[in-house]
Subunit: 297 residues, 2 copies
């Protein structure tokens, strides 16, 4: 049994926290939303002032939105890192630029802490069931110290190497493909509709053909059913594909497909679709082409 702090109790973080509790650990939750903290206490989390207990944490899991928030909660003016004891492991789960992960590892190590670059994949449902995929990198000591956390929250951990950055690079690559495949699915399902092929028929045929992808099989049903309840929002993509394009520009790598997909997600945000499920990118195409997508029954 370990003492574990977790910052960020959104759809991913809350599921992670519950699985840490269910695995028998003592868990302290923190979030800007007090209601989420209180709800977690009902589910068995510890009470008390987060910062006061931080000195006893064996691990601190950070599941905030992006790099800025991760840096702020750890190393900002009121950052928690200064309250942790030596050799506490920081498990950083947000999708962030690899170079920021490297900087945070260096900073953590200077303060006597361990750092695991551990972006997560799998969505809220698998966060809730403790079956996330983690693309992790860091020192062996960081992996060892994070093992109780990883065991409780994930079905699969890819060990990407012995320094921070590699995990984030792998995550960025996976997001790059996932984001492009959302865009290609949206482009193709509306292209088919423009030819008179209904989305349900498109899905039936393509999911059994060479054009299929994990994303298509996961997201196209949202369009078929006209249900854009956000499982993963449009808003995520300008950030995640933006990370990819930032890396690409820095390293002189040309990524025209990613660039085209990023432009579409940005336009969708401008059109007010940001908080909808990312399958709603199809609405952008449908609106442009004057097509009618299925509506929710």
């Amino acid at each position: 049994m370990q003492n574990i702090g977790i910052i960020g109790l959104g759809s991913m973080g809350y599921g992670i926290a519950r699985n840490l509790i269910n695995a028998g650990h003592r868990v302290w939750g923190h979030d800007i939303n007090q209601a989420a903290i209180d709800r977690l206490v009902v589910e068995g989390a510890e009470t008390g002032i987060f910062r006061e207990h931080a000195v006893n944490f064996d691990a601190l899991v950070v599941v905030v939105l992006n790099a800025d928030q991760t840096q702020e909660v750890l190393f900002g003016e009121t950052g928690i890192a200064s309250s942790l004891h030596n050799n506490t492991v920081i498990v950083s789960c947000a999708t962030i630029p690899p170079d920021i992960a490297v900087q945070m590892e260096t900073r953590a190590e200077k303060e006597g802490l361990l750092y695991l670059d551990a972006p997560i994949s799998g969505g809220a449902i698998r966060a809730s069931s403790g079956e996330l995929t983690v693309m992790a990198s860091g020192r062996k000591a960081a992996f060892d110290a994070a093992k109780p956390v990883l065991d409780a929250i994930s079905a699969k951990v890819f060990d990407m190497g012995d320094h921070a950055g590699a995990g984030s690079a792998m995550k960025a690559t996976n997001q790059m493909l996932a984001g492009i495949h959302i865009a290609s699915m949206a482009e193709a399902i509306t292209f088919a509709l423009a030819q008179g092929i209904a989305p349900a028929r498109f899905f039936e045929v393509v999911s059994q053909s060479a054009g299929t992808s994990w994303i298509l099989e996961n997201r196209a049903p949202h369009i078929v059913e006209g249900d854009y309840t956000p499982h993963s929002t449009i808003n995520i993509w300008p950030k995640d594909l933006g990370i990819v394009m930032d890396i690409a520009k820095t390293t002189g790598f040309s990524a025209p497909i990613t660039e085209a997909a990023l432009a579409l997600f940005k336009t969708a945000v401008e059109k007010g679709l940001g908080f909808e499920d990312d399958a709603a990118l199809a609405k952008l195409y449908a609106d442009t082409a004057g097509l009618h997508l299925p509506e929710k029954q």
Copy 2:
């Protein structure tokens, strides 16, 4: 047992012809390459002058490269359509623009023939094993007449409707996704390599993650192994994605992801990669970024 003519004995057509023979039909083969015809005779095809036997065909299967060739062999100056008897079914297997399929159906019906818009998917291996996927559309009489052919060559027939064009539209949509997914795979595997992630590791992680696609699982191993033996060539894609963009332009449909992928394939052809396996699109990215892809062992 039927009398079946087949025009086009390339990697797809030859496999189809063999399966028609193996199913017990009398098969006459035709190709601009006499050696392919002779080889098929060794495997059990009938001999004699193709045109002289055409009047006895129950079905004529056309497996040439594109719309121009299909129109030429059927309705050109020396086209075979005029030699067929009433109600022979033409099974048109090339990937062609839907409007050309509509024109050919009209022309065929004027001459008392049946026409099935029947583009095929699955590659040379499944053509050889009789397990193609067919995205077909046409009159009920055309489907009925083509049934012995379809039964012998395919594992799955999607009935897209009662007129030519719908099968070709579905095929174009599937190709659109497959082509984009080749490009996204090539972009991502080299992006990862630029971050120090080897192609084999990329493949291991992504094939188990949200970024995977049928194409990625099928083509990325070619890059991992450095083996660009052409199963499906780069040259196919300017044609097939060109069909998609032609349809898009005609119908006022905006398809920026397809457009970006098409531009990459065209550049790859200009760089002399046209006759390589389509996974060789990764070479274009690698060359631009100064990366070294795995070489064949």
